[in-house]
């Protein structure tokens, strides 16, 4: 582990996170969170999703201001590309989750970061979603994330950093493991 004389500051409050881990281990029911999204169809393949409320720590919460983003399909699919495609949003979620993990783990391990860039590629054969070939799945067949990290650390430490961020990532877990999903009509 790299030891530096000046305190490492990646802007992550790891003390608070470790404190939360200890506190929630004693009160596991408070650790049950529900995350929510509301998606409204606007027009064509364009929709807008608003993320506002969520619950956890035994109460309801709201983001200080709701986050909204639009999703659409690209022009090559005869749409107007007014927003990212949903699969791209998933790639963004994966990269955002892993990157937050890299920053947190680096803080905990005393590694000062200068820059972190994650490039993500998801491979997909669209014959699946077009219903043209039943043997081809709809989703990504392979997702590759490449981190470019400038930090005070050895290559082995960076590899361990990225490995640990995967181990602790919610989105990585959801992408790599089966998840029970129910879709109904209100």
């Amino acid at each position: 582990m790299t030891m530096t004389n000046s305190p490492v500051n990646n802007g992550v409050n790891t003390e608070a996170l470790l404190g939360a881990r200890d506190a929630l281990s004693q009160a596991p029911e408070a650790a049950d969170f529900v995350w929510k999204a509301e998606c409204k169809w606007i027009d064509g393949t364009y929709s807008e999703t608003t993320l506002d409320g969520f619950s956890g720590l035994g109460q309801d919460h709201n983001h200080p201001t709701p986050h909204t983003f639009g999703m659409d399909h690209p022009e090559c699919f005869a749409s107007q590309d007014r927003g990212a495609t949903p699969p791209e949003a998933l790639l963004a979620a994966l990269a955002g989750c892993l990157t937050a993990g890299v920053a947190s783990v680096a803080q905990h391990r005393g590694i000062q970061l200068r820059s972190v860039t994650a490039n993500v590629e998801g491979k997909m054969n669209v014959l699946g979603i077009l219903g043209a070939d039943p043997d081809i799945r709809n989703g990504f067949t392979d997702v590759a994330v490449t981190f470019d990290i400038d930090a005070d650390a050895t290559p082995e430490e960076l590899q361990a950093l990225v490995a640990q961020s995967q181990k602790r990532s919610a989105v990585y877990d959801m992408v790599t493991n089966p998840t029970n999903v129910t879709v109904g009509v209100a």
């Binding site: 997702v143 995967q166 790599t176 493991n177």
Partner: protein, 441 residues
């Protein structure tokens, strides 16, 4: 459960014990190596005690292990207080009959007061146990009568029940399932392919011997601990001993919960001292898949995180080897073999994410998914939400006079190994002796 048929005994928080209940200072539950080591320490201190054993001495080793199993630790490490290995193969690894013989000889050597075929059906705290409630004390009910005592040492081990994941209920009916406690040898399996779920010592050892029997083997790999059997000419446990890693105290370990729940390392004890990592398995034809995530309509789905768990296993092994090298340099160790590193775990280019179990020829699933202790008889409120005893180095919290021993990283990294009992039994017995002195004062 009514011990010894006594009409007065009821299964309730406060029980009325039969008048025949015997009094003893200390009851040790379990006559494995850990319980016997404590027995020896108590005898050294002239503390009157009994060792209650549901079967015979070394019962789990006799009845719950597969045929080919040998200890993971080399013979020279089999050291208990008052007796150590003195055979002529210090670098060998004991077979199960040899382990049973070793522990049985130990029980005789130390004249342990073992009550065999005595199953504890309930352990409860002091009230009604003939000991004042304020002073504590415990009642131990067994199929052969009751004991009241001032202290109890739980030495029944951490591996009484084989974990089987809940998704086991989705396994197609034509597939047989076994746990490491019921598995004995490949010959007893059907001739079809085998899915081994888990890549701890158990998982890799069973995958290895089932493959050697000619069956197709797939191994489902989650987080695991990779280690070479021999590094720079010395056994990996020699290094951990010498470099002080095995003696790292539970109070000095950064993440104790993680350390106590680590899977056993991918090791096997064989006369040729070979390594048994995932490369050794896949090179000979074992198919490697990710962690088993779901079985639905006969199709098993495996996690896409195989690359990461393998990278983590490699990184951690390399850190361990680096710590050996650093220690060797710092102590100017006289060793001719130079430092080196092993090949990274070789991953399949396109990992299998989904398998139609029956269609792909799987006839058996082996759940090598760990073990857990059985505390169904423990009627003292000392379990945490995960069903584990809350303790500090074996001293059970909020239950004066109650101790537990023989668990993973109980007081040291070596705690669950045979030679881990030597130090742990000494310290726990010291604490216990002080407790008895206090209650008598």
């Amino acid at each position: 459960m009514s011990p010894s048929g006594s009409p007065n005994t009821v299964k309730a928080r406060v029980s009325v014990l039969p008048e025949s209940a015997r009094r003893i200072s200390v009851a040790i539950i379990g006559a494995g190596h850990a319980g016997l080591a404590v027995s020896r320490r108590l005898t050294e201190r002239s503390i009157e005690h009994v060792v209650l054993e549901r079967g015979e001495v070394a019962n789990s080793w006799r009845t719950e292990r597969w045929d080919s199993l040998r200890l993971l630790t080399p013979n020279w490490q089999s050291q208990l207080p008052g007796m150590g290995y003195d055979g002529d193969e210090p670098d060998g690894f004991m077979t199960m009959p040899e382990v049973v013989d070793f522990i049985s000889t130990y029980a005789e050597t130390i004249s342990a007061p073992v009550h065999s075929s005595t199953t504890v059906t309930r352990l409860s705290a002091g009230v009604g146990a003939g000991v004042g409630a304020g002073a504590g004390g415990y009642a131990v009910e067994t199929n052969r009568g009751c004991w009241t005592c001032e202290a109890v040492v739980i030495a029944s081990g951490g591996s009484n029940i084989a974990n089987v994941p809940s998704l086991a209920s989705e396994v197609p009916e034509s597939i047989e399932t076994v746990t490491p406690m019921t598995y004995r040898s490949p010959e007893r399996l059907n001739d079809r392919g085998v899915l081994v779920v888990g890549a701890s010592a158990t998982g890799v050892q069973l995958a290895d011997e089932i493959l050697r029997s000619g069956r197709d083997v797939t191994i489902s790999v989650g987080e695991h601990v990779r280690m070479p059997r021999v590094y720079r000419g010395r056994d990996v446990f020699w290094w951990m001993d010498a470099a002080g890693i095995s003696d790292e105290r539970h109070t000095d370990i950064d993440d104790l919960v993680r350390a106590r729940n680590l899977p056993s390392p991918q090791l096997i004890g064989t006369p040729d001292r070979r390594s048994i990592d995932l490369n050794a398995l896949t090179d000979r034809g074992v198919k490697m898949v990710g962690r088993l995530g779901r079985i639905s309509d006969g199709r098993a789905q495996f996690a896409g995180s195989l690359a990461n768990v393998c990278v983590m296993g490699d990184l951690k092994m390399n850190r361990l080897l680096q710590s050996f090298d650093d220690w060797a340099t710092a102590t100017d160790l006289d060793i001719s073999d130079p430092p080196h590193r092993f090949d990274p775990t070789r991953l399949p280019s396109t990992p299998c994410l989904e398998l139609d179990l029956v269609a792909s020829g799987i006839g058996t699933i082996v759940w090598a998914t760990g073990y857990r202790p059985d505390y169904s008889w423990l009627d003292v409120p000392v379990l945490d939400r995960k069903g584990r005893i809350s303790h500090d180095g074996g001293i059970v919290r909020d239950a004066p006079g109650l101790y537990v021993t023989g668990l993973n990283v109980l007081r040291r990294r070596r705690s669950s190994f045979i030679n881990g009992a030597a130090h742990d039994s000494e310290e726990i017995s010291n604490h216990l002796a002080r407790h008895l002195a206090t209650t008598h004062a």
